[in-house]
């Protein structure tokens, strides 16, 4: 069978399919829907993963968060009796349970080459203040205590516009760095004039006076718009205060429930997470109720991607059923076609067509039918996928491999479901076929 004969068969198949346009289209429908669904899902999945990865990397892919977690009831470490009950009752860590400065110091020493820095923050709750020029409205802001080192690293995304970031010398003082938005809403002056201004914040119901040390640039969170349009008043910005000040304000113990480890560039975060987790957990082997564990955005991204993959797989399974049904449709219509063309088959055999030629002719027809369906499905799937991912807001890139696999798969369906009818045609007795009415 030369190339020209295969071409001849394809032309023959196209002629035959063209003479039954409507029937061919309806037969293809199952294949079209199946392939379109797979390609669309693939594209949308890629778009979602990309969008998630993109937004998470903005949060710092190189960051590892170490936090306290309660030991699970089947954890046998710890010493005292009645551990299980204490675990059940005790849901706030005591002073001796927190991650201490000593632990952090030792950690920084041990992994000096792996980490860039350790960021310490302490949430001091929400502060409220009357809106400037409108005492009936209150503005709220998140009060975060943090180290000067952490603040320095904010400079890149949210540069200081007036004044300065906090320094080590500010520790324990009632100084704050606010956003330009906060200046507009609560102070009502220019950024430069706001520096040095006294603001009275209500923290946990108690008024508390702070002096503004600096004003940083407000950057709108692009994902905030996903949750609906916000009016200006409801925008909540962060007020940075010294770490110690935040501790005093909240009346918390020394030590931290959470710390953020920023890894040095080039460190494999995914594997380093476990090392960090094990390191901190080793401090807690004798603790009854608490332990420390580490997690990272990368592992979060990974599990998100995994979840999306699972969803894609589920939908692909449904698409596979559509392809199966489509394939059975192809088999059905090919069987009808063989019956309709019994005389033609008889004639071809009388003219000297060997069984293999008849088989090839009908398999080719089935393949052509499926591949055309597959191509239409790919076109439909790509356009549907692009449209959906434009809604998600992340440029879609339908993968070439998925398209190749889809077309190849529809070809496979053609062979698989075309074989039975084609074989039936090939095995027809020429005399019976010629006599067929």
């Amino acid at each position: 069978m030369g190339l020209s004969n295969i071409l001849e068969n394809v032309i023959m198949a196209l002629t035959s399919l063209k003479s039954n346009k409507m029937r061919s289209l309806l037969t293809m429908l199952g294949i079209i829907i199946g392939i379109a669904a797979v390609i669309a899902i693939e594209t949308v999945g890629g778009s979602l993963t990309g969008s998630v990865t993109d937004s998470m990397s903005g949060m710092g892919v190189g960051n590892i968060t170490v936090g306290l977690t309660q030991k699970s009831s089947d954890d046998t470490s710890g010493t005292s009796a009645g551990v299980t009950l204490r675990r059940f009752m005790d849901n706030t860590p005591g002073a001796e349970d927190l991650i201490s400065d000593e632990m952090i110091g030792e950690f920084e020493e041990t992994f000096a080459d792996k980490i860039d820095r350790v960021e310490l923050t302490r949430e001091a709750g929400t502060a409220t203040i009357d809106k400037y020029g409108d005492p009936d409205t209150t503005i709220s802001a998140t009060l975060t205590g943090t180290t000067p080192e952490t603040l320095q690293n904010l400079e890149e995304d949210t540069p200081i516009l007036a004044g300065r970031w906090l320094t080590d010398a500010d520790e324990g003082k009632y100084l704050c760095v606010v956003s330009e938005k906060f200046v507009q809403q609560a102070i009502g002056t220019t950024n430069a004039d706001a520096v040095g201004a006294r603001v009275v914040l209500t923290v946990n119901g108690n008024p508390c006076a702070f002096y503004v040390a600096g004003v940083y640039k407000y950057v709108e969170n692009e994902y905030a718009s996903l949750f609906g349009a916000q009016d200006d008043d409801s925008i909540q910005t962060t007020i940075y205060i010294p770490l110690e000040t935040a501790r005093v304000l909240t009346g918390a113990d020394e030590g931290y429930q959470n710390i953020t480890v920023v890894t040095a560039t080039g460190v494999d975060v995914t594997s380093f997470v476990d090392v960090v987790g094990d390191y901190f957990a080793s401090y807690y082997t004798r603790n009854d109720t608490w332990t420390a564990s580490a997690s990272s955005i990368s592992s979060l991204v990974e599990s998100m991607t995994e979840m999306l993959d699972t969803i894609s797989l589920g939908i692909s399974a449904i698409a596979a059923i559509s392809l199966l049904v489509g394939g059975i449709g192809v088999m059905n219509i090919m069987t009808v076609s063989v019956t309709e063309r019994t005389r033609e088959i008889g004639t071809r055999k009388a003219l000297g067509a060997p069984s293999s030629a008849i088989r090839l002719q009908f398999i080719t027809e089935s393949i052509v039918l499926c591949v055309i369906g597959g191509i239409i499905g790919v076109i439909l799937g790509v356009s549907m996928g692009s449209w959906l991912s434009s809604l998600i807001g992340f440029a879609a890139k339908p993968s070439i491999s998925a398209i190749v696999i889809a077309v190849g798969f529809s070809m496979g369906i053609g062979v698989f479901f075309g074989y039975y009818p084609a074989n039936k045609a090939a095995k027809l007795d020429p005399i019976d076929a010629l006599r067929y009415e």
Binding site: M12, T347, K349, A350, L351, G352, S355, I431, L434
Partner: protein
């Protein structure tokens, strides 16, 4: 050696008359039964002996039910006899397998059917190309030869037409071109004028005569029309599965 061989041949010529070429069709004791081993076992052909020599124009006539379709199927190697030997152009049909039978049909036999049996939705040209497609003739050569034969049967003007755009006579002419295009040893025509009016039948019969006289084709014509058979060189009458009569045909045209 050479002398003795020549001598032997000379003797044989004396004894047997002028030396005849090897028969194209050589059938001996052909029997065909259906439903073998079942209570309704039925023998259609009861021992047919038949020789057709190259270049002959033979008619096989018989009423319906005489077994002529069965005989035609066997001559056309669409079917194998239950008993007897059939040698077509030196090939013993019994020993051939299905694919070899297909090749024999392709290379040695050109079929012309009562119902034309052109492939629908394909042009006359493509229809004539078909036997060459199965013979593995390359595309350009196929088209050239198909055009040549369509022109010879007078269908050169209509070779792009599809069968449903052609009249019965035109269809049969295309079918004859298709039968001739692989230069087969034998043209096997089964009631080729059965579906045509007498005027068109005349045209088709003249075409068969032309194929016979001009291209020296061996033709076996199966018909139930005695007048048509009379035009052939030799007429065999089939009745109840036996050849009951064999005579020379008049060869005169215009029977219709």
């Amino acid at each position: 050696m050479a002398d003795s061989k020549q001598f032997a041949e000379a003797v044989a010529r004396r004894v047997n008359g002028p030396r005849r070429p090897r028969p194209l069709i050589e059938m001996q004791g052909i029997r065909k039964s259906y439903y073998i081993g079942q209570p309704n076992e039925l023998e259609i052909l009861h021992g047919i002996d038949l020789k057709v020599y190259p270049g002959e124009f033979v008619a096989i006539v018989g009423e319906s039910g005489s077994g002529k379709s069965t005989l035609m199927n066997i001559i056309g190697v669409l079917d194998k006899p239950t008993q007897g030997t059939y040698i077509l152009d030196g090939v013993n049909i019994h020993e051939a397998r299905d694919n070899q039978l297909a090749a024999i049909r392709n290379q040695k036999i050109g079929f012309v059917f009562q119902t034309y049996n052109l492939i629908g939705r394909q042009s006359a040209l493509k229809n004539v190309e078909l036997p060459m497609l199965y013979a593995g003739v390359p595309g350009g050569e196929r088209a050239r030869r198909a055009k040549e034969w369509l022109t010879r049967v007078g269908m050169g003007e209509r070779m792009r037409h599809q069968p449903n755009e052609l009249s019965g006579g035109q269809k049969q002419r295309v079918a004859i071109a298709r039968a001739m295009v692989n230069e087969p040893a034998l043209i096997l025509a089964d009631e080729p004028t059965g579906a045509l009016d007498s005027e068109t039948s005349r045209v088709v019969m003249d075409l068969f005569h032309e194929m016979h006289e001009r291209y020296h084709k061996t033709i076996v014509l199966i018909t139930h029309n005695p007048a048509l058979a009379q035009e052939c060189q030799r007429v065999l009458t089939l009745k109840d599965g036996r050849i009951v009569d064999e005579r020379k045909g008049g060869g005169a045209r215009g029977a219709l």
